[in-house]
Amino acid sequence: MISARGLTKRYGGTAAVDSLSFDVQPGTVTGFLGPNGSGKSTTMRMIMGLDAPDGGQARIAGRSYRELRWPLREVGALLDARSFHPGRPARTHLAALAAAGGIPAARVGQVLAQTGLADVAGKRPGKFSLGMAQRLGIATALLGDPSVLLLDEPVNGLDPEGIRWIRTLLQSLAAEGRTVFVSSHLISEMALMADHLIVIGRGRLLADTTVAELSARSGSLEEAFFTLTDGEAQFRAREAEDVKLS
């Protein structure tokens, strides 16, 4: 389980993430939905301990990321399409991380096969297409057989077959009892992939509910999303107006 409590990150004067609180439950795919620049990636980076929050905290199974004993065996993450050295072969990249995680070397071959990269395992990934880079990122996330997975925009750059592959994969991982937290700005994909949704806009929580419930609100998930984010925009506009008037 992932939990955020009052999570806040400011850049300059503006809050990219603003007192965000939510829980991500195991056994289900939880979508993290919001317009571009709404703070999804920043939130995920704070959960991973890469960025320090200005307020609040994020916990994984009750502990901060830095307190995890074997991080790769507990949390698998895909934060960026390219989180590897372009000149280091995929197999070596995974072997280095396996060594750090105390993960058996045999696991490298398994995740390469699972992500369809076995044939290019010895090649330098600098020349990989975006879709192949995403697959290497997913292989990295799966390396430690973790019970919590965080994926930031994993379907970017994937072709329709790749998108269906990852949807099926994430749903089967959730069905095994794992916590799966996936961000996207693609509403239609979230509708297919996720059971539960956390919707944010401008760093604030807009909705924390099931896909079915949210879709029922406005007839479709897309309509519901625009109603939510539009309201946020208007709220902000009103707020700015209030400041001007006072």
Partner: protein
């Protein structure tokens, strides 16, 4: 993928695996193994070491060959083929220093740093392991290069001049120090790369520290330049570490070595301090 249904079962499985070696959680050993695999596969690392070795040995041979066959009384007083033979250090310090820079900055430019810190969130431990692995590899390589350079220089000397021997303590010390200097230059690079994080900026800072500051001092009067000059890495290498006959201005050998270690400690310390405080 093994089908595991509940988190509690995963936990039991995990503790069993961890319990086997009696430890729980990653330690220096795991981090060092990761850094060793990364260093071995760092693009250009092998070529950098091979190129440095070639340049060091070639310059050693040139110094040996160009030694005039007859030494005047004055020339005899300054005669130090061992120290002169390590002219290639002026190239090697930058080559291995830049490799040290890249070891850190390429993690940021490629995005690998996110995967690295996801695996090892203990940032000081990560930097310590990186420095230990890189320092050990460059020390071993540096010593090999230093001994090879010395032997190449010695065999190229004209038969008519005295040949330095490794049996002379000052000579043996100079050769060992030459190898150590390459490792220390590499660690200075790693420290600079950790502080600056961007390849171009960090390489620029290395060039500045190693070459530009010494050149700039030439423009100043000796009364100002001399007391400063002897603290610069390249001057320490040439005038203190590898000089069998001490040249002025210079620090005593061990003080020079201590000064270089201080550079490394301050830069890696500052780098570690920033690494913990900055967002990745």
């Amino acid at each position: 993928m093994t089908a595991i249904t509940t988190d509690s079962r995963r936990g039991a499985h995990r503790s069993g695996r961890d319990g086997r070696d009696g430890r729980d959680g990653y330690r220096f050993g795991q981090v060092a193994r990761m850094e060793w695999i990364k260093l071995r596969s760092q693009r250009g690392a092998g070529w950098t070491l091979a190129g440095t070795a070639a340049a060091m040995i070639a310059l050693g041979v040139l110094i040996g060959i160009h030694q005039s066959a007859h030494l005047s009384a004055a020339a005899r007083a300054d005669y130090d083929p061992t120290g002169n033979g390590f002219a290639g250090l002026a190239f090697g310090e930058l080559a291995i220093g830049v490799l040290g820079v890249l070891l850190m900055t390429s993690e940021y430019s490629s995005g690998l740093i996110k995967a690295t810190l996801a695996a090892i969130p203990n940032r000081p431990l990560l930097l310590a392991a990186k420095a230990a692995v890189f320092g050990a590899v460059t020390l071993a390589a540096g010593e090999l290069m230093a001994f090879a350079t010395f032997i190449a220089m010695r065999t190229s000397l004209p038969a008519t001049v005295p040949h330095p021997g490794l049996g002379q303590p000052a000579v043996l010390r100079a050769v060992i120090m030459a190898g150590a200097y390459l490792a220390l230059a590499g660690l200075i690079g790693l420290g600079v790369g950790t502080v600056i994080r961007h390849t171009a900026g960090a390489v620029g800072a290395m060039v500045g520290l190693l070459y530009v500051v010494p050149l700039a001092l030439l423009a100043l009067p000796a009364s100002v330049a001399d007391p400063v000059e002897k603290f610069l890495p390249m001057i320490i290498a040439e005038n203190s570490l590898t000089a069998v006959r001490r040249v002025s201005p210079s620090l005593p050998v061990w003080a020079g070595l201590g000064m270089l270690c201080l550079y490394v400690a301050v830069l890696l310390g500052a780098g570690g301090w920033l690494l913990v405080r900055r967002d990745a």
